[in-house]
């Protein structure tokens, strides 16, 4: 049985759905960050697969930039989360509905 491009795209879909469910369901902000990582990774898989099956390196390049963006997102996001936790002693998403400082 030959593994084709569609297999990888379907796998990427499933992982993306898991990540989306995580983003919508969780109220803990740390878990929200985890779900975001899952979303970015599922897209990376499909980039690499398309790059392989078309003999084109552009997909891998985009995957590299996605990884760089994910790393900087984690650094800034965790910094903001630490500041928020110092001030309010909670990382609950529902308590963040007002934008008061």
């Amino acid at each position: 049985m030959e593994i084709g491009l569609n297999h990888y795209l379907v796998l990427s879909t499933i992982l993306f759905a898991i990540g989306l469910v995580g983003v919508m369901r969780r109220k803990n902000l740390l878990m929200l960050f985890f779900a975001t990582e899952i979303l970015l990774n599922s897209v990376n898989i499909s980039f690499a697969a398309i790059s392989h099956y078309y003999g084109d390196l552009t997909g891998q390049m985009f995957a590299f930039f996605v990884i760089a963006i994910a790393a900087s997102e984690v650094a800034v996001g965790l910094g903001l989360l630490v500041v928020w936790h110092k001030r309010h002693n909670s990382i609950d998403l529902d308590k963040m509905s007002t934008m008061r400082g």
Binding site: E2, I3, L5, Y8, L9, V10, L11, S12, T13, I14, L15, F16, A17, I18, G19, V21, G22, M24, R25, R26, K27, N28, L30, M31, F33, F34, A35, E37, I38, N41, N44, I45, A48, A49, I50, S51, H52, Y54, D56, L57, T58, Q60, M61, F64, F65, I67, A70, A71, S72, V74, A75, V76, L78, G79, L81, V82, V83, H85, I91, D94
Partner: protein, 190 residues
């Protein structure tokens, strides 16, 4: 044959790990499951012949990002659960699947039309790392530099946000103020 076995094995492992990450209530379980899932994802990159991307995936995600998360978790009281509001699970699941299917449609639209030609075709006789270097440092040099600047900005932002009293510039304040601040700190310690 071996490719198929490896694909299905790692697909099962990755999906189950990420499922644990999304559903568990313990932050530590979620963190370890996420790290395992990242490593399993790098296996797909190795299967697809993107060796350099797989190595970067292991180094960046399960090295740097996981260490950052573990470090961040020390600040939070993770033993106390955040109350998860239980919404309608069927609606959420349906929405998630629908959105994911939409993504696939977006992806597969140009594939089905079948008029794609390789923009930067792979060079024969060169390893994956060599090819990546050649394309990255010629065609994608400007985005590469922009990404480097972005990482620098993110690093400085992280230090300023998480560090203590980093919003005060020590070079711009007067000597007396700094001395007063230090005495105040010592008073707090003693």
């Amino acid at each position: 044959m071996f490719e198929a076995i490896a694909f299905y094995l790692f697909a099962f492992l990755t999906i189950s790990m990420f499922y644990i990450t999304v559903t568990t209530s313990q932050a530590l379980y979620a963190l370890t499951a996420l790290a395992a899932g990242m490593i399993f994802i790098s296996a797909f990159f190795f299967i697809l012949g993107a060796d350099f991307l797989g190595a970067i995936q292991i180094v960046v995600y399960s090295g740097a990002v996981m260490a950052l998360y573990a470090f961040g978790m020390m600040f939070f009281d993770t033993t106390r659960d955040v109350k998860e509001k239980q919404g309608n699970n069927a609606i959420i699941l349906g929405l998630g699947t629908m959105a994911a299917l939409l993504i696939v449609a977006i992806f597969s639209a140009p594939i089905i039309s079948d008029n794609i030609s390789a923009f930067y075709p792979m060079t024969a006789g060169a390893g994956n790392t060599q090819e990546v270097g050649m394309v990255l440092f010629t065609k994608y040099l400007v985005p590469f530099e922009v990404a480097a600047v972005m990482l620098l900005v993110a690093m400085i932002a992280g230090i300023v946000l998480a560090g203590k009293k980093m919003d005060i510039s020590l070079t711009l304040t007067e000597e007396d103020e700094i001395r007063a601040m230090r005495e105040e700190q010592e008073k707090e310690v003693s």
